[in-house]
Symmetry: C2
Subunit: 339 residues, 2 copies
């Protein structure tokens, strides 16, 4: 098993397989068929979509049993190195099967922040038991996270028991990722001055675990100091709905130190939420939320795909911004004369 | 001018006035006509709505010049007392005209948390230059905040230069209020243990000013300690998009101490954002956001008002929660066969 380097080729051949062949391949844990199915999920073609939905619905009974872990942090914090270390630990020490996915809304792939530079996870990607899938390069954030969510189902059906979802800690993508994972890990750095520089407001509050990375050499002391500082800050926030009290730890992904500690914390967390029912509750809530959001998105799409609606909406937007129409009377007019 | 005690009576007579009569009344700063217009805005009747939209659109050129200030805090924090003190200061010392509105999504009015107990603002409500309007008791949060937003326009056209919008600091209503004000003030109390108890996550991050209320007598010391603690916590957050660094102060609404300080901070803030263009930018952004949200809301309403769509949606929701359908394939099916 290794990172799939032949997506284009798979795209060409995917039509040769029926949905039942692809399904059978996935359930027999064949990575090639998993990749074919993901490519279908990421496709914007109508017939591919239909096929993808059939496969996903058939995979559903075999899905849902993994631990879904979101990992975020600003570029430079060491996400790839952390996932490399953490993934290796899970596979080698804990006999897990690990899929690594990415949610990255940025169209500019040159930043290389997310799984772009595959070589950065070379050791992990060559391990038996690892599957690394770069972020789909298509479309809007909503589209990317829809594909990611469906990919989770496929990976679980293919036997992966741990799904790591990587995202950049600077935008809306965290909220999307939060809504598809069980556990949310925020990687940070100890730094002079404003410790949270670059991290969007609200991200810290979503974290179940803050890990100060690069706690090595001369940086060990500042990292420990940062840990205390964050612990105090987190203390000011009320308890999460999971009943879990967010933790702060240091680690060095480079030296693979404290990786076991991070793993043990995830264990504690999952033990807690499986016992108190939050695991089940959150999963159900997430599914319902995705259904409702996707439905609303589609309903609005249908409306806006109508050229006349679109043009009239744009014209009214302009009047609203200029203060010449109230938002609500503008909406009334638009809806009344909608196509 | 005083709090309007005759809404029911106004409802009866509102049909006797034409929109142009009501408009003329508002622009001549007649509170009776302002109240009639607000009652139209809060009405769910189709013809009232039409009339309200006409009036609001006609008021728009005369609106937008007030300072819109959101005030939130958990029940018991002293919101009413604070608004009473702050409002009196604004009117008596600064010669302002102050309208007090409320956004309160709770249907249970017995809590008396928001403007319910009118007597709590008796002094303010009897002042020339004050207008206090209780929260509309109808409908959903979205409906309440829509009415509040339109009421702001009406109050501004009627010559009010300061709009105070009160809300309870425990839910979604703060996000709504944040999207209709220029400045957001969070009232808090010094307390033992977890200082943020009861305040929803994320609310603190929205505040431009935190005020520790009840800094009086024996509570003075704990209040000052809390101020330091919050200052340190706020320091961890990155700068707001306004360029403003959120402040923390203590006050005693009861003894009317530090009320001038709070006022001076709002002045500093408005000076800054008028200079750096954020005032204009935020207002335009808010209008556009409201238009888009209201449009999306209406489009979805139209879809769900269809009985068959509604029934099928509920059935699919169930399958999604049970893990028998993927959210996205369920949506596809629903949209494909929509009415």
């Amino acid at each position: 098993m290794s990172i799939n380097k032949n997506i284009r080729q798979l795209t060409k051949v995917r039509k040769e397989y029926s949905t039942s062949e692809i399904l059978k391949g996935i359930l027999s844990r064949d990575i090639t068929f998993l990749s074919i199915a993901i490519t279908l999920v990421e496709s914007s073609r109508f017939d591919d979509k239909q096929k993808a939905h059939e496969i996903i619905d058939a995979c559903l009974p075999y899905s849902g049993k993994s631990k879904r872990i979101g990992i975020t942090g600003v570029p430079g914090v060491g996400k790839s190195t952390f996932i490399e270390s953490f993934g290796q630990y899970l596979i080698k020490e804990k006999n897990k099967k690990v899929a690594v996915l990415a949610v990255d809304p940025s169209s500019n792939r040159n930043k290389g922040s997310i799984l772009g530079d595959k070589t950065r996870m070379e050791t992990l990607s060559n391990l038996e038991g690892a599957f690394i899938r770069p972020s789909p390069s298509m479309g809007s954030l909503g589209g990317v996270s829809k594909a990611t969510r469906e990919t989770i189902i496929l990976c679980e059906a293919a036997g992966f028991d741990t799904i790591l979802i990587e995202t950049v800690g600077v935008g809306q993508s965290e909220v999307e990722v939060k809504s598809m994972v069980d556990f949310f890990l925020l990687l940070m750095l100890a730094g002079a001055g404003d410790e949270l520089q670059g991290i969007k407001r609200g991200i810290m509050e979503m974290a179940d675990l803050l890990v100060i990375n690069k706690a090595e050499g001369e940086n060990l002391k500042p990292a420990r100091r940062a840990r205390t500082e964050y612990k105090n800050a987190l203390h000011l926030f009320p308890a999460t709905t999971s009943g879990w009290i967010p933790k702060v730890e240091t680690c060095s992904a480079l030296e693979a130190s404290n990786i076991d500690l991070v793993y043990n914390i995830t264990l504690q967390y999952f033990n807690l939420i499986e016992k108190n029912g939050f695991f089940e509750k959150q999963r159900k809530g997430q599914a319902l939320e995705w259904f409702r959001k996707a439905l609303e998105h589609e309903i609005i799409q249908q409306f806006m795909q109508n050229e006349s609606n679109k043009i009239r909406s744009k014209a009214l937007e302009k009047l609203v911004i200029e203060g010449k129409r109230s938002p609500f009377s503008a909406v009334d007019e638009l809806i009344k004369n909608a196509n």
